[in-house]
Symmetry: C2
Subunit: 343 residues, 2 copies
C-alpha cells in the first residue's frame, strides 16, 4: 500500500508528464506549489515508486516517466473527477438538434470529440437491434435497372441499385414490393433475413411467377451484408503528438486505421461503462503504445454502440474520461428520445 506522500508524488509526476511529455526530475517536482520536500527526499520516494513498478527511467540518470502500471494505478485511483466542463454543453447542442438523423449525430460527435481532445475518436454506430423496417421502396430507372430503398423507423436510409432480371415484369415487381411491405413492416432489421426466407418466400412464390431470381437479387442487395458503421474523427491529430514524430509509427498507425473490421471487433468486445485500456493491455499490436478509452451508449438495457478515444498512453485521462462519460450519457438520452417518439 502506498503512503500519502507516495501517492502525491506519483500523481504529480504523472500529471506533469502528461503535460510535458518529458521525463520528470526531482528538482522540478520540488518546485511545485503543493510540494514542500527537497529534491533529495523526492528522489528517495521516486526510487521506491520505481521499485514498485509505477515509474521508469529512460536511462540510468534520467528523470522518471510513468510505466503502464503507473498509468493503470493513476486511472484507477488518482483521478479527481473533474468539474464538468463547458464543452459538455456543446454535445447537447449537437445531439439534441432534432433535425439531424441519428447517423449524423454520431458522425458529428466523433468530429467534436476529437476536436476537443486532439486525439482520434472512433464511434461504433448504433447497432440495429431495435431499429425496425418502416418502408421498402423500389423505383425503376429503366426497364433493366432499379434502385431499392429501405427506410427504418430511426430515419436511417439505405439504398442499393440492382438490375431487374429479364423475366420479371413491372407488375410482378410491384406485387413483390407490396407483399414485402405488408409483411415486413415493423420487423426488426436483424430479423429480416430470417423472416424473408421463411414466411415471405413462400408467399411471394404464389403470386409472382419466376420470382426466384429477382428475389435473390434483392436479398443479396440488402440483407446479407451488415457492414459495421464506424466513424473516425481526427486521425490527423495523432500526427501532432510528439510520440508520433517518427514516420514508421505513423505508417503503422494509419495502416491499422484502415482495417475497419479489426477496430470494430476491438470495440465490440466492450462491456458496459467506461473502460480504459493502456498500452500492452491492447491486443492489437499497432496500438501497443496507445491507450484506448471506450464508453457505451444504450437503449434501455440494450447496448447500442461504443464511443472511443485513441491517443498515446500519455493521455489526458481526466479530461477524456469526463468527456466520454458526458457524451455517452447524451447519446443514451438522445437514443431514448428517438425511441419514445417512434414507438
Amino acid at each position: 500500500m502506498l503512503t500519502g506522500r507516495q501517492l502525491l508524488i506519483l500523481q504529480v509526476i504523472i500529471d506533469d508528464f502528461i503535460q510535458s511529455a518529458q521525463p520528470v526530475g526531482s528538482r522540478a517536482i520540488s518546485k511545485k506549489d503543493n510540494i514542500s520536500f527537497s529534491p533529495a527526499t523526492i528522489r528517495n520516494v521516486m526510487a521506491d515508486l520505481e521499485d514498485m513498478g509505477f515509474l521508469e527511467k529512460t536511462h540510468s540518470s534520467s528523470g522518471r516517466i510513468p510505466s503502464e502500471k503507473g498509468y493503470r494505478f493513476y486511472v484507477d485511483n488518482l483521478l479527481s473527477p473533474e468539474i464538468i466542463s463547458d464543452d459538455v454543453n456543446v454535445f447537447k447542442h449537437v445531439i439534441q438538434d432534432g433535425i439531424f438523423e441519428f447517423e449524423q449525430v454520431v458522425q458529428k460527435s466523433a468530429e467534436l470529440l476529437s476536436d476537443l481532445t486532439n486525439y482520434t475518436s472512433i464511434i461504433l454506430g448504433p447497432e440495429v437491434f431495435e431499429t425496425k423496417l418502416k418502408q421498402l421502396q423500389i423505383i425503376t430507372l429503366t426497364p433493366q435497372t432499379a434502385v431499392a430503398i429501405l427506410i427504418t423507423n430511426t430515419g436511417h436510409v439505405e439504398h442499393r441499385s440492382f438490375s431487374i432480371p429479364n423475366e420479371m415484369s413491372a407488375s410482378d415487381l410491384e406485387k413483390m414490393v407490396n407483399i414485402l411491405n405488408d409483411r415486413l413492416h415493423g420487423v426488426p432489421i436483424l430479423q429480416l433475413p430470417e423472416k424473408l426466407n421463411t414466411e415471405v418466400r413462400s408467399l411471394i412464390r404464389l403470386y409472382v411467377s419466376d420470382f426466384e431470381k429477382s428475389f435473390d437479387y434483392l436479398k443479396a442487395a440488402f440483407f446479407n451484408e451488415h457492414p459495421v458503421k464506424l466513424y473516425v474523427g481526427g486521425k490527423t491529430n495523432m500526427l501532432m503528438q510528439p510520440e508520433f514524430k517518427d514516420i514508421d509509427k505513423v505508417r503503422s498507425f494509419y495502416a491499422m486505421m484502415e482495417k475497419e473490421d479489426e477496430i470494430a471487433n476491438m470495440l465490440k468486445a466492450t462491456t458496459d461503462g467506461i473502460k480504459v485500456t493502456i498500452g500492452h493491455e491492447n491486443k492489437v499490436d499497432a496500438i501497443k503504445d496507445c491507450s484506448l478509452i471506450t464508453a457505451t451508449y444504450h437503449l434501455g438495457e440494450e447496448q447500442m454502440g461504443t464511443i472511443a478515444l485513441l491517443g498515446p498512453t500519455r493521455m489526458e485521462y481526466n479530461k477524456v474520461i469526463t468527456l466520454l462519460n458526458a457524451l455517452s450519457n447524451e447519446m443514451t438520452e438522445a437514443l431514448y428520445m428517438w425511441y419514445k417518439n417512434n414507438e
Copy 2:
C-alpha cells in the same frame, strides 16, 4: 534546341531518378546498356543541361536531379507512349459491372487507381448537369419527423431527415409531395432551386395552407447545398514515398487533404484532356513539391468530372498518364452507356 545526345542523357537521368530517388552521377549513367560514352563526356553534357536549367545539383559535388523545368520537358517531349498495360482491363471489369451505381464506380476507381500507382488518387464525382429528378418521396416517421428521399435518373439517392412543422397536416404534406413530383419530374438537378422558387412555389401556395415554413424546411434540406463529391484513395500511399520521410511534410499534406473545397476547386479548373501540373506550377502551397495529373471524363460534349493523381514531382509520369488516359476513357464510355439506357 537539344542535341540527340543531350535528349538521351536527360531522359536516362530522369528515368533513373524516378526509379531511385537518388541523385544520378556520371559514372552510373555510363554503365547503362544504351549509353556508350565515358563518364567525362557525360559530365560535359550534364553541365550543359544544368546550364539550360533542366538539371540541378543538391550540392556542389553531387550527382544531378531533374529540375521542375526538366520534368516539364520530360513530360512534354520524352514520354514514350507505353503499351497499354493489363491493368486497364481491370478498369473495364470494375466499371462495366452494371449492378453498381455510378457513385460506387467512381469510388472503386479511385481505390484501384491508387493501388496501381501507389500515389494518392482524387476523383471529382460526376457533375449533376445531366442528372434529372426521377422521384421525390417523403416518408413520415412520427407526426413530427420525416425523411425526404430524392432519386435521380442515374440511380443516385439522396436523403435528409427533417422535422415537420406543427402547422402542417399529413394531407398537406402529401399534397405537397404530389405537386413536387408532378412538376419536377425530369427536371435537371441543377435547375431545381430555380424552378422551385418560381413556378412551384406559387402553385403550392394555392393548395397548402401555411406552406411557407414546410417549404423552406424542405428546400433547405435539399436544394441549397450542393456538396462536391470528392473521392480520395490511398492517402497513406504518400507515406511510403521517400520524399515524405519528414513528418512536417506529412502534416501539411494531410492538412491540405482535409480542405475538400480547395481540392475540388483546384480540380474543377481543369480543361479537357490530360493535364500535368508540376511542383510550383501548382497554386496550392502544400503541394508545391508534388505533381498533379488530371484527366476529365465526359458525357457527350459536357465535362462531367475529373480524375487526378497526386504524387511527388518524382512521379512515374509514363505509367500514370497511360492509366489516367485509359480510366478517363472507360468512365466516359460507362457514362455514355448510362445515358443511353436512361433517356
